[in-house]
Symmetry: C2
């Protein structure tokens, strides 16, 4: 079984689901490792926070955890995607009394080469600009057409990720990662007041960096800030930390600080 | 049969569909009247234009028309919603070789009272602000969370629609209609350079008004412009033209020009 819809094995969802019609919902992309989801408490906490901003009801934690355990049964590693949609309702934007649907999907583990973590990845700047909306900023919602357009700007398999700017030319994130810049012992990441996704690994990197004595700031950043950094890395809760070794024609040696963060987070969270 | 997915009767779609995961797709909401879709050529033309902007392939017109005819068989009136999604593919924002899915859904005719067309509707201003994005502006895509949030701001059944402004406080549209303002023989509608949906009835009203000798402009508009207009009306391809009789505490008598447009468009297009 590869998927559960509202607790039942399924390979499809109701055609009337508001997730399909409007992207009216949320998602979490979760690493399954050694048969468990190591970051589950944080995923659930974010789901609660995002759902409250969108006015969606989240199933109780034990019930949802049980379903994840059921889907993960007999599996060692992979990725589990959880979608929480506003469910099926009558035609139109009004939710009325539609009840949320929960969708759990298992995918095989990624097969990225070890060099992505050790030697870093190549990255580009995308042309697509993220729109700005305080109401939606930070939320991991299902309206992801901007990410799709950004990711489909390039085909070159040597380029792993694309950095995305907002309509004011501020760098916000990568298509499926958050972004960090290192200058000496100063760590900066874009603030997500108007755009972007508030990633769980981003949160963990911020917490861990503070504990390791780095100076940490969430701030406005330009593509010039990126190119002038001593070190650049990307994060998400499935891959952890990927150092960046090249953007356009600019190259970096990987900072020891990045390796240190990787080790610390791997020891502590198993990611 | 109430739905066809890729030409086959269905009540569900594949759980891996990119329409669900990312809102990676388009839709058309079409009036079925006297057993036909009177605005079909325009719907198909917009679908082609929007799909080209998103990089999606549209099925050939005769094939899609045949499926609509099949779904409409034995039905006199109602609403047919067409969704064209990027289809099912592997996990991730990259489309790869995913093939588009087409989804056709029949709903019963709306049951709005005749007074909505004759005496007008009550409308409010929404708090939710539309984000701005040149790449997506005008497109009838499946990322509609902003419309959902705007529509769910009110429950009062006496209020039929909500006007939505963008992040720069320009009035753009209503949650599921386009907006027109009348001052004497000057007709204005918000320009859709950064936000909003380029509605088919909007296009028809612009064309018809020019032929009737009105001066027509697509321009920037504020909520003050709305409140100071001689007449206000909303349009979409299912309801045609709804005059607005009240916004907040401001009321209007319905302008004869609005009735004239209703009659002309009803005669010409059957909507």
């Amino acid at each position: 079984m590869d998927a559960l819809v509202n607790g039942v094995a399924a390979s499809s969802i109701a055609i009337s689901d508001r997730g399909l019609h409007y992207g009216d919902g949320l998602f979490e992309t979760m690493l399954l490792k050694n048969g468990t989801v190591p970051l589950w408490p944080r995923h659930y906490r974010r789901l609660l926070a995002d759902a409250s901003r969108l006015g969606l009801t989240v199933p109780a934690e034990p019930a949802l955890r049980d379903e994840i355990t059921e889907l993960a049964a007999g599996r060692e590693s992979g990725v589990i995607k959880l979608m929480l949609t506003a469910g099926s309702g009558p035609r139109g934007y009004r939710r009325g009394d539609a009840q949320p649907s929960r969708i759990l999907l298992f995918s095989k583990p990624h097969d990225y080469p070890a060099a992505f973590w050790q030697e870093g990845i190549r990255v580009r700047f995308c042309d697509m600009r993220l729109s700005r909306n305080r109401r939606l900023a930070g939320i991991k919602h299902l309206n992801r057409l901007e990410n799709v357009l950004a990711r489909n700007e390039w085909d070159d398999p040597a380029i792993t990720e694309g950095l995305v700017l907002d309509e004011h030319d501020r760098v916000i994130e990568a298509t499926s990662c958050n972004l960090f810049l290192l200058n000496g012992s100063d760590l900066r990441t874009p603030q997500l007041t108007f755009s972007g996704v508030n990633g769980i690994m981003r949160e963990i990197v911020l917490e861990t960096s503070r504990r390791l004595g780095l100076s940490v700031a969430e701030t406005e950043l330009s593509n010039r800030d990126v190119l002038e950094a001593d070190g650049v890395f990307l994060t998400n809760s499935v891959v952890g930390i990927w150092p960046v070794r090249q953007i356009e024609t600019v190259t970096w040696a990987i900072s020891p600080v990045i390796y240190k963060l990787q080790r610390q987070i791997n020891n502590e969270y198993g990611v």
